[in-house]
Structures are given as structure tokens and as C-alpha cells.
Symmetry: C2
């Protein structure tokens, strides 16, 4: 039986600490932070690299294009789209020269456009490999959305293409660049919770329209594991800073559900890391949403919920009989990752999340599928 039963921990009883050198003073802090951000006048921009956005879906329209306003080193200069109407409309809004609008047929001619330094692939997963490789062959640097591709074999082809072209290839793991997840990584790896014993990470949501590309294997490469489970997987890896050596998994998909004729829905998977940390993770297209992790140290636990949303993430640490909420200055994840890419190109540095990072996740996702199918631990 537990000896801790007498404690009265309450979620209402949060105490707040000032984040690592960042503004935060309790309940009113978000308002203060916003006011502060509005008042600060940005410095005049230095050199900005020119970006082409390939694929004008909801992620591009709602997140990526607005994020350029907050970039210091990146500007949008070109679109690649199969929908000229949409591209022209967005070109007006974002002041993109209509001559810089490409379609999937004349995409390769982007090589002749000196305004474009970096290509951002925001297409369905099944098209990542082809359009990344064509972009690299056009002599451009490429930022590619996650999952990197449908298979680890495709990932390897993409990495090879980048090497051959001597261009940068980065995968858009935005959580590596934003303050909350970076702070969680710092806390966990510094053993501020004591040595990590276990990671629990869960990511999923209820998929809607059965016609969406995510639910069609040729375009998505797979189901919830590829699209959203990858957040839980990647979190387990970045919170430990280690690579798993063993994978277990179990999955269930209701094949009578019209959404799941081709791809999997519910997956639970386990990872063993070399230090002894074990991770229990879940992924779903069927359950009500969650984006959540717990880092279980010997002396405290860190929780994020939501953990990996575009904004509004929350972090707290439970230690002794206190819950301490950690509030940090939020920042636009997409602006941060795009500027990181631009910076790597300008400074000739390797991105923090290169093609190899995407390959590692795809290799593990394939192991998850194999473990779920075979009922056996897959060794990596």
C-alpha cells in the first residue's frame, strides 16, 4: 500500500515559479506576457532567406504562412501548388510575385529561381520523398514535414539525395525548437527530477472526414502512428536523448469504421532505452484528443498537457507534496523552426533535426508495426 495517501495535492493549488530567465508571475502572467510582446518593437530584419512552400493545405495556410511575420531570417517568396486559384489568392495576401507560383509539373524549374533558397514540403506524407528529392536536385535546401516519408527506405533516399546535392535537409520537428518542450528536455536530461525511470507519452485525436488524405494509405503511408503517434514517439526520444533498442506494440482498428479501411487507428507501443528507461506510449485516430506526456523521475515528475499543440501547452512538476506550474514565454513554433533552418543554411551548420532524425522515427514506426503484427519484441 502507498505511504503517500495522507497528502492533499490539489491541481487548484498550483504554485508558480519564474521560468528559466523568462517572464512568469502566476495567473495573470499570460496577459502580461502578451502586453509585453505587443509593446516590443522588433529590430529591423537582417538577411532573410527566400522560402518556397510546397503544398497549400490547412497547415500551410493556417500555421506556416502566418508564421513568416514572426521570422527574423525567413521570408516566403514562392508557392508550389496544384491549385492556381488558391496560390494566386495567397500570393496577393503574402506579397508573393505571381511568377514564383509553380505547379507540380514545372516544379523542377524552381532550380532557375535564385530568389528561392529553401523549400518547405507540406504535402501529404506519401509525396514527401519525391518532392524533397526533386527539390534537392533543383539545388535547394529542404525542410520537410514529419513524418519524413512513408518508409525508412524513402528516408534513406532523401538523405542520400541531400548529400549528393550538398544541400541541407531538415525535418520539421517543431517541438525541438519551442520553449516548453526545450525546457522539458533540459529538466529531464539534467536529472532535475532525479534520473528518469519512465516516459509516458500519448498523442491522438478523433479523425473526421473519411475522405481526407490521412486515411488513405498511398498518401499517408500509414495511420495514426505516422501522423500523430510520431509525437509520442519523438517525445520519448527527445526527453531521454537516447535511441530505443527494443519495441513492443499492440494495436486495434475497427475495420467496420469507414475511416479505417486502409490505415490503423489505435496503437500502444513500448520502448526500451539503453539507460534502462522504458516508455509506454499511445497513438489514436479514434479517441477524443490528447497530447500528453509524463517524465517520471525518481524524485519528481514532469507533466505536459497539452504537450505538443501549436500553442497553449502547459507544464508542471510534482515534487514532494507540491505541484509547481512552469510558465514560459510562448513563441511561434513554425517561425522558430524555419529560422533555425535559415540559420543553418546561412551558417553552414547541421540542423538540430536533420534527415537522420526523421529516419530514426520511421525505422521505429516500422518496428512498432512489425511488433504489433508479430506479437514479438522487435530489437533495433
Amino acid at each position: 500500500m502507498m505511504k503517500i495517501s495522507e497528502k492533499e495535492l490539489t491541481r487548484r493549488g498550483f504554485i508558480t515559479r519564474v521560468g528559466q530567465g523568462l517572464v512568469a508571475t502566476g495567473v495573470t502572467a499570460p496577459l502580461l506576457k502578451n502586453a509585453h510582446a505587443q509593446l516590443r518593437v522588433p529590430d529591423p530584419p537582417g538577411k532573410k532567406l527566400g522560402w518556397a512552400i510546397v503544398g497549400l493545405g490547412s497547415l500551410a495556410i493556417n500555421q506556416i504562412l502566418p508564421a513568416f511575420a514572426k521570422c527574423e531570417k525567413s521570408k516566403v517568396v514562392a508557392f508550389v501548388s496544384g491549385h492556381p486559384d488558391k496560390a494566386n489568392k495567397l500570393a496577393l495576401r503574402y506579397n508573393v510575385n505571381p511568377k514564383n507560383i509553380y505547379n507540380y509539373q514545372n516544379y523542377d524549374s524552381i532550380k532557375d529561381n535564385p530568389e528561392v533558397d529553401v523549400i518547405y514540403i507540406v504535402l501529404p506524407n506519401g509525396m514527401h520523398a519525391e518532392y524533397t528529392i526533386r527539390g534537392l536536385q533543383a539545388g535547394k535546401h529542404v525542410l520537410c514535414e514529419k513524418p519524413m516519408a512513408s518508409t525508412s527506405a524513402e528516408c534513406r533516399q532523401m538523405i542520400d539525395a541531400a548529400k549528393k546535392a550538398d544541400r541541407k535537409l531538415m525535418i520539421a520537428y517543431r517541438c525541438h525548437y519551442e520553449p516548453y518542450n526545450k525546457e522539458a528536455i533540459r529538466i529531464a536530461r539534467a536529472h532535475e527530477l532525479g534520473p528518469t525511470q519512465m516516459i509516458l507519452a500519448d498523442a491522438g485525436f478523433a479523425a473526421g472526414d473519411p475522405a481526407q488524405w490521412r486515411l488513405h494509405k498511398a498518401l499517408s503511408g500509414g495511420g495514426s502512428m505516422m501522423d500523430i503517434g510520431i509525437y509520442a514517439l519523438n517525445a520519448a526520444r527527445y526527453l531521454t536523448g537516447e535511441e530505443p533498442t527494443e519495441v513492443n506494440a499492440m494495436s486495434f482498428t475497427d475495420r467496420n469504421d469507414p475511416r479505417f479501411k486502409e490505415v490503423e487507428s489505435n496503437v500502444i507501443f513500448q520502448l526500451r532505452f539503453p539507460s534502462g528507461v522504458i516508455a509506454n506510449c499511445s497513438s489514436s485516430y479514434s479517441y477524443f484528443h490528447q497530447s500528453h506526456y509524463r517524465v517520471m523521475g525518481t524524485e519528481a515528475r514532469l507533466e505536459m498537457d497539452p504537450a505538443t499543440w501549436y500553442n497553449g501547452n502547459r507544464m508542471w512538476i510534482e515534487r514532494g507534496n507540491k505541484i509547481e506550474q512552469i510558465e514560459l514565454q510562448e513563441a511561434d513554433h513554425f517561425a522558430l523552426e524555419m529560422d533555425h533552418m535559415s540559420d543553418c543554411v546561412m551558417q553552414n551548420k547541421e540542423p538540430l533535426t536533420p534527415g537522420e532524425e526523421g529516419l530514426r522515427d520511421l525505422t521505429i514506426i516500422e518496428a512498432v508495426y512489425e511488433a504489433a503484427k508479430s506479437g514479438k519484441t522487435v530489437k533495433l
Copy 2:
């Protein structure tokens, strides 16, 4: 990518609903509830059965003996202990006749004591089978702490002994009797969250003194899975109302830690249920404590944290973009389960958590150990 990123869900923004016919009105409710409880004058007791407590450790002293004050159908009348000093002291406090103090040698003579109707086994796990069987053979009904025994084979012997003696045998799964977990069961099984897709359940704490009986296999039967992981396992079963058909597991124990020379520490395990629900669970003697579960339905999720403490448990439901805290009148878990047992004896009814319930958990725990060892899914 998730479409839910715009929502601003805050844990501070809890809204409160009145529980199912129970007093609850927001933040001040706990105080009001206490005041209410203090003012209510209990009815004069009806018939109470006489209970003997076997094993006077911290659970008996701190939880079980004080709980008799809240029982309607149960009174403590006898002790069985290897420590006469402790037994005599407690006999004074609880008005137990000194002639009703037994030791482990003369325990069987309890059969001649008509004051004792029910025996409650609160010994280390490794002694459960022997003292339960001897109690049944003495013609008494037995409530036995969980885990029921060290092995499923012992559980079967205990069930057989109860049948042979025609006595009741109940296992002390107190969470089946207390309002919060009962309400979670009702909500999940009524599909108020939509059909359940996944259960996530975690239970563990950092074990202290290496000399304690829990860390010695002969007394404990096993490590964290037996003592605390059983809460996560049992929750997955009671929240679904189903029996698992498959088990995966992975474990890690630091054998250089003086606490873990004999028993396991960290275990993660997965369960598949016939309806398609899959469960991801964890157990630990090494991590900072947690007692937690999430029921992931298609339309909402129910969370309890803490979920299975003696008191102070908290429950909330997240649905749409609202978090709804559910506050219920707390009640003493031990008083509830003891009165259930007394009632079953008086009414000749089968307990809600009979020996078979304990056997099912032990069978699954053995499967967890086997799966962790073999690296293969164990089918049940």
C-alpha cells in the same frame, strides 16, 4: 496535424457539475460536505458482525482499525499478531477483549470463538494463502488483502478451501466500493464518453527502506506489479468490465539498487480486451509516485489523478473544449468494503470481489512476468 490547436483548455478553468445525486457545488464543496457529515447523527447500529484482524502492520493500524468507527455492520472483536505488546495496546484503544488476542501459533483455535464471524488477512502477501486457508478451515469467512496471494496456484487453493468450508472469501479491492471509482466505472461502461477506445493506467511510488517485506520475494511474491501495479491492472479490468485476452510487457530493474535484489521495480504492460479496447499500464517502485488513469472514449476522456488513494481522489471529464470536474461525497474505503463483506455474510450473497477476482489478477500478473521475460505476447 491536429485541428484542435486553437482551443484554450485550462486546468484552472474547471467547471463543476453536481455529481449523480450527490452534494457538490464547486470549490467550497469539500468544507460544506465535512460540515454536513459532522452534523448528521448516525442511526443506532443494527446487527454488526465480529471481525478479527490478522496482522497489525501500518495498514491495519492507520486505515483498517480506525475505519470500524464508520462501519454499520462490522465491529472489531479480535486480533491475531506476533507482537503481544502491540496487540494489547490496540486492544485497549479499540475495546477488544484481551482473551480475543491470538498469535500465529494458536490462530487455529479461533474456530472456538463465536464472537468472530469474519477474519481480515492483512499480512504480507506471501502469508495470505496459508492464513486465509487456516481461517476458512476454522469456519470463519475471510476478507483477504490484495494481491490475493503470491501465485495463481495459491489463489486456486484458497478458492477451493472456501468452497470446501462453505464460507465467503472476498478480496479487499477497496476501489470497487468507493464513490469515485464506482462513478468512473458507471460512466465508462455506460459509454458516456462514447465507446471506450483505450485505458491508460499508472500506479507506483518510490519504495523506501530496503529491509521492508515488500522487497523480499518470499514475503511479497514479487515486486511493484504485485503491490501497486495491481491497481493499474485492476482499474483496466473494472473500467472495461472485460477480461484481457493478450498481454505484452517490458520491465527494467536496477539490480545495483539495494532495494531490488529480489523483486522487480519498473514494469510497463499492455492488455487487449475482447471489445477491442487496449490498455497501456505502468507500475513502479522507483519513480516518484503516481496513481492515475485515463479512460479514452470516442467523444470525451475521463481522468482520475490521484485515482486510487485512500482519500483525496479527483476526477474530471474533458469533452469538447471543456473540463468538467466531478466532485462526490467521499467515504471511507475500508469501512465500505468491510460492511460489504459483512452484508454478504448476513445475506448469504457472493461478494462483488470474490476470490475469483483475485485469481484473475494473479493470472494476468503471471502473464505480465512471462511476457516481459519472453518478449512475446502471452495469450490468456
